[in-house]
């Protein structure tokens, strides 16, 4: 995968102490921007991507040649309007789209880090990305936005840097990864580890790709992003290009074929070790524990205006977990709005064309921007 071209990269010189204790410096942080920063530098929105996302939020992703992962929400005239706002998105550290990650070369061994890469956390990801503000000379962002793991980064960001943003929009996320969330991630990791090609993470040096394991991990995860109703309506028991069951183990059903396809296209664009590291970071995320059991303390110093959004059919990060964030914010008198969007598309809803969601996002941003919050 030649991804080095077309990728903007900030080399972060300042040492960053990771939660695991290691210190990294002079590391690459790949990013992309959309729209332009205005003279007052008060129109910047930092978007955080989810587990398998990257910095190419909208337009055509120059590496995969496909639409950016949030094309429905970000762009000219869209909810996050690039005619109006300056949108920044960075590939998380641990990722595989140019930022410092396990597929980078370890200068000591001249081989890829693989599993020698330090275990990173959501906190580390956010602390790496704060450097972008200095780089662009932005004192205060207008907004930080993200869904799923992106939402976790929003929460962590505001707790680390309470006065660095005017508004914050965590979408379909949680303040603490649940046992069920960890269980699904572990299933994915074990699928990768069970692939013989994975070779304890040293597959690059052996010119192997643990694509079967990674594909299974993606297939399992993909099911968690959809709802039972959504799956039933889209696929039901429909058969794949055949009139009857074949009494074998080929993909008889459309849903099987669909999942196999999702797995196969994923391995072309994603690195197995990155998958391990990023899922681990999500599992370690527990903002409640970071603040000794009182989530409200994470938000007690911020004056930011919050807007929390969840989806009715999201069982991965259900409404109640999003509401817990609202409750914690209300407990410290924060300015917080909340809406649960009706959708049968499951957790994936935040990435899809759900008009009620896109409208709410746009209205909140545009009205807040007009308010000229301090």
């Amino acid at each position: 995968m030649d991804i080095k071209q077309n990728i903007k990269t900030l080399i972060v010189e300042k040492p960053l102490k990771l939660d695991c204790g290691q210190i990294i410096n002079n590391f690459p942080l790949a990013y992309e921007t959309y729209g332009s920063l205005n003279h007052e530098k008060d129109n910047a929105i930092l978007v955080f991507h989810a587990l398998t996302g990257d910095q190419f939020v909208t337009g055509i992703n120059p590496v995969t040649k496909k639409d950016g992962w949030w094309s429905y929400a970000v762009g000219s005239g869209k909810s996050i309007d690039t005619d109006k706002y300056f949108v920044i998105c960075a590939n998380v550290i641990g990722g595989c789209m140019g930022s410092f990650g396990p597929s980078h070369e370890n200068p000591k061994t001249k081989k890829n880090y693989g599993t020698d890469f330090p275990v990173i956390t959501i906190n580390d990801m956010v602390n790496a990305q704060i450097n972008l503000l200095d780089f662009f000379g932005i004192k205060k962002l207008f907004s930080i936005v993200g869904g799923s793991m992106g939402g976790m980064q929003v929460l962590q960001f505001i707790s680390n840097y309470p006065d660095k943003t005017k508004t914050a929009i965590p979408i379909a996320c949680t303040s603490s990864h649940s046992a069920q969330n960890i269980a699904f991630n572990e299933l994915g990791r074990q699928a990768i580890a069970a692939d013989h090609n994975w070779s304890d993470g040293n597959y690059n040096s052996r010119n192997l790709v643990p694509d079967k394991g990674l594909a299974v991990a993606r297939m399992a995860a993909h099911i968690t992003y959809l709802s039972k109703k959504g799956l039933q309506e889209k696929f039901g028991r429909k058969l794949q290009e055949r009139d009857d069951l074949k009494f074998g183990f080929d993909a008889d059903f459309q849903i099987e074929s669909y999942l196999r396809y999702q797995g196969s296209v994923f391995v072309d664009r994603f690195d197995a070790n990155s998958y391990l590291y990023i899922t681990r970071a999500m599992d370690y995320f527990d903002l409640v524990k970071q603040f000794n059991g009182n989530l409200s303390d994470a938000f007690k110093d911020t004056k930011a205006k919050f807007f929390i959004i969840s989806f009715t059919s999201d069982w991965l990060y259900p409404t109640q977990e999003n509401k817990d964030i609202v409750i914690a914010l209300n407990a410290v008198g924060a300015n917080v709005g909340f809406v649960e969007i009706e959708s049968d598309k499951g957790h994936d809803s935040f990435l899809l064309n759900i008009p009620d969601f896109l409208k709410a996002l746009k209205n909140f941003l545009d009205k807040s921007y007009a308010e000229k919050l301090s």
């Binding site: 300015n335 909340f338 649960e340 209205n363 909140f364």
Partner: protein, 198 residues
């Protein structure tokens, strides 16, 4: 805009922190923001209305006042407004207590079931009253705990809260309710508006 919004606004001090419980489409919130420069939040059960409020730039939480008020700490607001919805709750007593826990004061408005039209309606028709302020049939009304102005005054003694100010709305005119005119206001008031305290 409902006629009582102006009256509610007159009861609220400038720059206060206010919660509008059942804020509907945010009309009152906007009115209070403009007229009293209040720092205002809303709770609303309908997704559609929450969307409308967001489109107006209002800070609103989708939720059910009966269960979701408990997330606010004591004395979070100087005023909590409950407009014409007390009668729709399963347990009005708990709601009133919650309003007065999260707010220093509460403004509660009630459609008066003691109004003469309501009384005549039942007396002569023998069916559940349908009026301008109570437009639903008995089987599809959200109002399960209707009360009169007099009932509400009695309620204040039973569950022990103070009525700081009580007003009646009659033909869009507002007037004070006191002990000597209670029977009259209970017959002619379309709406009771109460400023209450713990």
């Amino acid at each position: 805009m409902k006629p009582e919004y102006k009256i509610i606004s007159d009861l609220i001090e400038k720059n206060a922190k206010v919660l509008d419980v059942g804020c509907d489409d945010g009309t009152l919130m906007e009115f209070l923001k403009t007229n009293k420069n209040v720092n205002i939040r809303g709770i609303e059960i309908s997704k559609k209305k929450v969307q409308t409020c967001i489109a107006k730039g209002l800070t609103v939480i989708e939720g059910n006042a009966e269960f979701d008020l408990k997330q606010f700490p004591n004395d979070s607001f100087e005023y909590v407004v409950l407009g014409q919805t007390l009668q729709a709750f399963i347990n009005p007593e708990i709601v009133i207590k919650e309003l007065l826990r999260v707010g220093n004061r509460a403004i509660v408005t009630i459609p008066n079931f003691g109004h003469w039209k309501v009384r005549l309606n039942l007396l002569f028709k023998g069916t559940m009253p349908i009026t301008n302020s109570l437009p639903n049939d008995w089987y599809n009304t959200p109002n399960i705990h209707m009360c009169t102005i007099k009932d509400f005054v009695k309620f204040s003694e039973i569950i022990d809260f103070k009525i700081f100010k009580s007003l009646a709305l009659i033909n869009e005119n507002v007037s004070d309710i006191n002990n000597s005119n209670l029977i009259f206001k209970n017959l002619f008031g379309e709406l009771g508006i109460f400023l209450i305290e713990k």
